[in-house]
Every structure is written in C-alpha cells, then in structure tokens.
Amino acid sequence: MSGLRRSAMALLACLYLAALAAGWLAPAGYAGQFRESPSAPPSRKFLLGTDELGRDSFARLLYGSRISLTLAPAAAGLGILIGAIAGVAAGYLGGWLDICLSRLADLFLSVPWLFLLLSVRATLPLNVNPLESIAITFLLLGLLGWAVPARIVRAAARQLKGEDFMLQARARGCSPLRMLTLHLLPSMRPVLAAQFWTSIPLFILSETNLGFLGLGIAEPLPSWGNLLAGLQKIDVVASSPWRLAPLVLLLLVMACFHLIVPLEDPSR
C-alpha cells in the first residue's frame, strides 16, 4: 500500500472519528439555535460561525459528516449485496435467470443515474420528516445502485465458474451452496471490495446533488447536500467565505476516496 494511500485512509479515519465525536466536540448540537447571534463570524464559541438561524455551523458540519460518512458506505454495502446476489445468480446459474437479470440491469443502466434517482424519489412522498428523508435517500441509493456491481460480479462469476479449482470442487461432489460460499464468493472478495470503495464517493456525490436540488435530507438534519445548498446564497458566501467549509471538507473526503480507489465508473 503506497504512503499516499495510507495517509488518505488515516485522514478519512480521523474525519470519521471527529464526526462520531460530534456530540462531544460540538455540544450545541446541529439544531440548537443561538438567536442572539445569527450569521455570526467564526469565534472561539463558534469555530465556523453560525448560520442565519443562529445554528452552530461547525456542529452542523460534524453531524452532517457523520450522516454522509456512515450512510453512504451503508448504501454502498446494500447496493453491493444486491448486486452480488444478482450477479452470482446470473453468472453462476446462467440460463433464463441470467438473461432476465442482465436485461433488468441493462434497463437500470440505460437511464442516467440522476434521472433514475430523481424519478424514483419523486414517486415517494416529498414532505416527510427528517429521519424518513435519510432512510429514503440512502435506501434509494442502495436499492438503485445494484446494476453496476451486478454486471461486474456476473462477469467475474462466469470467469471463475470455468476455473480449475471450481471444476475440481464440482468433481469432488461439492454442493452448489458450498461451491458458492466456500469457493466462489471468497475469490470475488477483491472485486466486491473495489466496487464497494468505488460506490461510496459516487453515493456521497449523488446525495450532495440531490440535497443541492432540495430532494435530499430534510432540515433540520444536516447533510453535505443540504449544507452545500446553503452556498446558493451568493451574497452571503461572498461576505463570509468560511461558509465554504462544507465544500472544502467534501473535496478533501472525495480526494481521499480518490486516492484509495480510482473513481472509474463511467456509467454513473
């Protein structure tokens, strides 16, 4: 592992730990309002100032990071799980199942990622409470993001199916379940890990874009999407550049992911 990659992982770990310790680092909380100091500049009390409602921007950034950095991997895990099941079923079992699952994956991939997200998100209620909005946003990402992993896992499963060790296992009378769990899935671990690490930054960016468009996580819960949506007030950003902190943090995190695994998925 290169030094740069190791540093990126360490930085990500530090950021995540800071986000987890948000309650201790920023006791004001993400929703606490200091009505006597709205839009305050950075100070000892408010490290990144306050927003127009008097909420501590540093606390909101930490809590927002906690949500994005916890749920994006969870959504990626869900997407990979569904993709792995579909991909293994299609690639290993083949036949009609392969044809049907491949066509379904083609269908999902034929619609640009954001259009797909927007369409399915709009079919669900828009005025929901913040916790429901989190569940909807990240479940959607996980449930709709299965097609790319499925396609890659399918190709890997087809390739592995004909390998010597698989033939040997079959010749020894291994049951299909044992072949899958003991031989096929462990051999696919690198493929699945790569897909997992590639999906996380894509899901973070998708949540950010949805939040920027007002279809992400609902206030008062913070997320990188709705924190960045605050940048749309041009005059406020121009007079108080510290409001760019969420963007800087997002760039830093994305750069870390970028160093850990190259973002090479052109279909999203």
Binding site: D106, P112, T123, L124, L213, L215, L251
Partner: protein, 294 residues
Amino acid sequence: MRTRLLHRLATVGMTVILGGFLAATLVRYAPGFGVDERELDTRFSRETIRRLREEAGARGQGIGSYYVHYMARVLTGDLGVSAGFRRPVAALIAERFPETVRSAGAGLACGWTAGMLLALAGVTVARREFDFLTGAAVALLLCIPSAVMAFAFVFAGTLETGAAATIVISLVILPRVFRYARSILGRVATAPHVFMALARGNGRFRLVWVHVLRPAWPSLLALLGVSVSMALGAAIPVEVICDSPGLGQLAWQAALKRDLPLLIDITLLISVVTGVSGFAAELAQTRTAKGDSL
C-alpha cells in the same frame, strides 16, 4: 456482427417496453395516485369535484390495463397532460428538448475534444510530470459535484446561462473521458507493434495517429456511447442551477411538483436517447472494426 447489432436494437426495444412497464407501475402505485388536490379547492362546484373524482376513478385501474392504456397512448404520441404545468406533456418536451440537446451536445463535444486532446498529449509527451499535473486536475474535477460546479459558474457571473451549462457539462465529461482514453491509449502505446513502428523510424504523429489511435478507436467509441448518458445525467443539476430551460430543469420541476406522468415520460425519453446512442456507438464500432480487418 449483424446478430449482435440486432440484439442491441432488440435491447433498446425491450428497454422501452420494460421501462414503460416499470414506469407505469411506479406511477400507478405511487402514494397519492388518483387523488387530485383540486378537490380541496373550495372554489370548485360539487359538479366539478364529482367530475374530478370520476377522472381519478378512471385512472385508478389495475396495473395491467393502466400499462396497456399508457403504452397505447405513448405509441400514438399522446403523452397526456401535465398536472403541474396544465399543458400537454408532448408540447413541454418539444419546447425543452432542443435546449438540452444543445447544451448536452455542445458540452459532450467540448468535453470529449478536451479529454481526448489531453489523453493524446499524455501519450505523446509520456512524461511523469505531465501525467501528475493532468491527473491532479482531473481528480479535482471528479471530486466536485456537478451542481457545485454549476454554482461556481453562476457565482462568477461572466457567462450567459446556456454557455455556462455547456461548459459545466463539458467539465463533467472531460475527466471521465480523459481517464478512460488515457488508460486505453496508454495500453495500446506499449503494445509490441508500436515499438516495432518506432524502431522502423515512423514519425511521432504517424505513430500516434496510425498505430495508437486507430487500434484504440473501437474502445473509445464504446466510451462515446456511455458519455451521452453522463452528459444527460449532468444536465439536471446544471440546468437547474444555471437556469437553463431544458429537460433536466423540467424533470426537476416535475419532481418537486410530483408531476409523475411528466417525469416518467421524460425519463423514458432519456432512456431511449441513451439506448439509441449506445446502439449508434456499437454500429460505428462494428464499422471501424470491419474497416480495420479489411
């Protein structure tokens, strides 16, 4: 080859049929389907509200018959009336589609040209410093959400909305095209036939054009098909932030108004465009491969 192309064409057809079914299912089972909020408007008479309920009742049929009616309407060009805009969907799409074609098309062309030129320069120059600098610039572009990028251009305020949308879409396309093209070209550039051509004293331009670019062309054409999908996907946040009246902005407005039939029609249209562009890329790929084999 012909079988493969026919298969691809059949896939596009299947996408429309299956996509239409999924779209119809989404609309039919979306919470609030068949309920018209105008029923709460006290200005409407009882008779009007009864009519509205009748209309809703007509729409509240089973998924099978709903799908058949939906597809029959779509095939005759009747996409229905938008509840949010109170206008025919076909007219709305016809009005907005050219703007998206213009911004996404121009963005795609600019992004592709810049990405390819950078990748070719990387292969030609073949220096670590150049690769590091371009790699860092491209990585930075990949890290920024397209909405934020669009916002930065609006913030700068030096460009008119259409031009800003085009530039942002090209900046979304450029890094992805560059990375793939650089990887493909880099792989071809280290192939034995290139060393042989170099040893034979071929000029640098001829080397890149004939021995590197031509063999890589089929893979690059496949990337072109995927780029259309990327450009259309980027059109949503870009058109919204840049206030460019295209399909992306219309889809966003439809989502906010929960105008599902309109949104689904737009998504189906976009999936057809993506499918057809993939088919065209594959056709071009086949022709290129045929030309090379001759």
